[in-house]
Amino acid sequence: MMPDAALAAAAQTSPPAPVLQARGVSVVFDGTPIVTDIDFELHAGQVLALVGPNGAGKSTLLSVLAGDIEPVAGTVLLHGENLHSLKLAELARRRAVLLQEQRLAFPFTVTEVVAMGRAPWRGRPEADDDDLVVAQSLEIADVTHLATRFFPTLSGGEKGRASFARVLAQQTRVLMLDEPTAALDIRHQEAVLARARTQAAAGDAVVVVLHDLSLAAAYADEVAVLEAGRLRGHGAPREIFTSALLSEVYRHPIEVFDHPVTGDLIILPVRGTAAPTTPASSLDRSALLGGTTRATA
């Protein structure tokens, strides 16, 4: 399924070429820098979690990686090719994107919505498997029982899972998920991220924006911490998720410790007297850009 150019590129360099590569990516909206000078690589078989406070630029970065926004500086390479030189149809066969918001203008059924994920493969040999892929995707996302329901009548979590099924049905080697667990209950949160892991184990690359840091630590090979559009840390969760860095980035004291039984990384906010009472306002962000941190005070 991998394109020839990418295979050739992979054969030339001895370490496996990254599937997705960002080089000096910057985005500016109306004079305000949203994402600044981001560099990273994502290899096949990896799950990368993008974390950071609200307005840190996670979703914007994901839009750049998905090819929705052209960065003002820098390039994004997908399978070694510039994202913006790829045709939209080709791009749709290489990466699938799950957005935060699930909207549908007309009352299609869940099956119809999931089948839309097959659109990029129309007229190709892969389209023969459409029915099977749709059925499997419905099963994996646990929405088979909702198959004949109308999408707009579903609850937020059900919509999220149905959309996840659509993204799976697209059968791309790169998955980009923007807060896929946002409206889900604990069982389905675990199921979605476990599925992301399974996809990675099969050789896919997954980028996922997450708010729950413990979830990110549990399921991601690598985490990237964003703050005000800049990469503050990138690496294995255990190296990056330190109390000091997270407390500073989130401007709230955060504890990191190992689970006494499983040894998993547990990340919790410190609650009580130390916690600041006023939420961060947009005005505070400029102070943050200036380098001051008040959360740990």
Partner: protein
Amino acid sequence: MTGAALAKADRAATAKQPTQPEPSTPDPRRTVRVGLLFTVLAVALVVLAVVSAGIGQLHIPASEVLGSILHRVGLDVGPMPTHPNGDAALWTIRFPRVTLAILVGAALASAGALMQGVFGNPLADPGVVGVSSGAAVAACLVIVFGWSFLGSWTVAAFAFVGGLLTTLLVYFMSRSAGRTEVVTLVLTGVAVNAVCGAGIAFLTFLGDSQSREQIVFWQLGSLNGTRWQYVGVVAPLVVIGLVGVFVLSRRLDLLSLGERSARHLGVDVERLRIVSVVLVALLTAAAVAFCGIIAFVGLVVPHLIRMLVGPGHRVLLPASALGGAVLLLAADLVARTAVPYADLPIGMLTALVGGPFFFWLIRRTRRTSGGWA
């Protein structure tokens, strides 16, 4: 346990054990319904066309109408019209009118369905949004100033340009963040209709009494006085429009996921938009050019079709075209025959039925979306 509680428990039990549907195959009931709908609409169209051609001041039985058609195509089957003027009446007055009603109905309904798909809003309609009146202003210019440099195509060409400009205007003014909110759309329509109304009023004031009369009748919408020449102009426009619409249908389905998700699935959203806007203008111009403003067909028909067979555009668009043709043919029959020796304006009839329907639709949309979203 009371009976009610038992019933409740029973329902809960059945809810817990959902019958495993075959997920990958389309709903068989819907497939049957689609087949049934197309059959019913096609039969209704043929029957209505034959009956409609026979009814009027000069009554011609259906068998004679069929006989006349068969003789024209070289088959000497069936009776010819018995009345000495029967055959001539059919071929110079009735058939062009019936054909134009079919074409215009198909154009309006598919333009409505296309517009709703592109705007992502079930309330979009060329009449409501003001595209029809935009096309009308441009066409009134031709009537008032008596331009004819494009021959019989002049009115249609101007209507197309007027419609295109209005569609672009409405499209770019009423959208925010990739979608059009109901309130914005309807209010934009109010504004556009007001300005176009002023334009038409000014042109009415400017014109001589003959063009005034023409404009007034034309604003009411009528198929009265249809000639083959008109059909010759409208037919190619409608055929191009319909072919274009069907080519876009799969992409329109994806567009209902939102612009970004459609793009992620490989749809060139920018191009889809522009092509759609041009097609809407083309179809509306085809409808408006000779028949004037016939509102609400593009609203009512796609909506009813969607309720019956779902929102998939591959079925919705052809079914709407067929349904629009049936509806306008029926409306024209009523317009011609409701009052003896009078030809009621068809636009008046469609607005009479369409207005309340639109109101109901607004109420329903508001309820289901939890506000004016």
